[in-house]
């Protein structure tokens, strides 16, 4: 929709504005722009898409459920505050949100550092910071991408990968044929591949 507004003889400035009423139909970057305009429905939609990814990142960083849940709320407050700074020309929405989330979590950690405890032995084979960062980004991307699946597809992926069940057991659990479970798993993986590529987490 293009709005042409003129208030005087020399007027004639044009401005492009889009009006879409259903936030679920919007891309992440469009939602962020709406949040910058204080659109609560867009904020709720963005929350739904990213809350698991944010909580997952907070859990990885803080390793404490209560602090991670508090940090998750802080992250969305930060998204609300800083949405106006998002510039889609400088990068995709998912990495921007990841950076906002990571900064908010780390800032919270600085404000309320963990209470001193017993020194923890670090295993020699524990991943170093680069590997941890890569794993955190992978988890963020995957957890966000899972939210783009339909409920049946997400269910089959979660059962296949994280329940410890075999596909035959998944089929029994869901009450559907084994062939359907495998077909649905493949289609879900294909959809995830597309979403991850869009997010910049190239599969």
């Amino acid at each position: 929709v293009e709005a042409v507004i003129g208030l005087g003889p020399a007027a004639g400035r044009t401005a492009e504005t889009r009006f879409v009423t259903d936030p679920s139909a919007l891309r992440d970057d469009e939602l962020i722009r709406r949040v910058a305009g204080r659109d609560h429905a867009a904020f709720a939609e963005l929350h739904g898409r990213y809350v698991r990814a944010v909580l997952g990142l907070a859990l990885r960083t803080l390793r404490d459920r209560g602090r991670a849940e508090d940090a998750t709320q802080e992250v969305f407050a930060a998204v609300w505050r800083s949405a106006g700074r998002f510039d889609p020309r400088r990068g995709a929405a998912a990495p921007w949100l990841y950076a906002v989330a990571r900064n908010a979590i780390v800032d919270g950690l600085r404000r309320a550092p963990e209470p001193p405890g017993e020194p923890v032995d670090v295993a020699a084979d524990e991943p170093g910071p680069p590997e941890q960062a890569e794993a955190a980004w992978a988890a963020w991307s995957v957890h966000r991408a899972l939210e783009s699946l339909s409920d049946p597809e997400r269910k089959v992926i979660e059962l296949a990968y994280w329940s410890g069940l075999s596909q035959s057991e998944v089929a029994t659990f869901l009450g559907i044929p084994l062939g359907t479970v495998k077909t649905r798993t493949r289609s879900a993986l294909q959809r995830l591949a597309g979403v991850l590529e869009e997010q910049g987490a190239k599969p």
């Binding site: 504005t17 909580l55 407050a77 106006g84 990968y161 077909t183 493949r186 591949a193 599969p203």
Partner: protein, 191 residues
Amino acid sequence: VNERTPRLDDLVEGTVAESDPLRNVHALLITAGAPPELPPHLAAAPPAPRTSVIPFPRRYRFAVIGAAAALAVALLGAGYAIGRGTQPDEAYAVEMTGAPGASAEIVVLARDGGGNWPMELTVRGLPPLDRGHYELWLTRDGKAVELCGAFDVSTGETTVSLNAPYRLRDFDGWVVVAHGSSEPVLRTAEI
């Protein structure tokens, strides 16, 4: 790969080529691990964080022309103060008039960290539109130059949250127009 890690070839029908992107997705899923369970209080979006508002003295609705002029001066002062950067947390209120029986008030809230000026626009007496919506624009030299947001009205009073991610000192007022129209139905006092 431990004994509990699923094998891709067991998860889908048929064979998957080594170069198939599904293998990378499979690897990412294993690296990522299960998404966390959401506690009930995180399942729904929180209410949008409130922006602090500095109370502005309530004015009499039917102020005399002198009061309107004072408001206009306040608007200019706001732009001046913003330009000087001396009072970045201060909030302002501006009256709008125009169509018979219609009025509006814009409360400009404290600027956020991103440089946005959140605003609360309260509109009274504008007729609902059969099609389209109203828009709030910032003006410069008599022309509407930047859109602050769109809104619908019902009968009575309507309050909406809008935003101005601009330097307010670059403008001299606001207007409300029906979408697609060039005729303001409300505007800030003439300066």
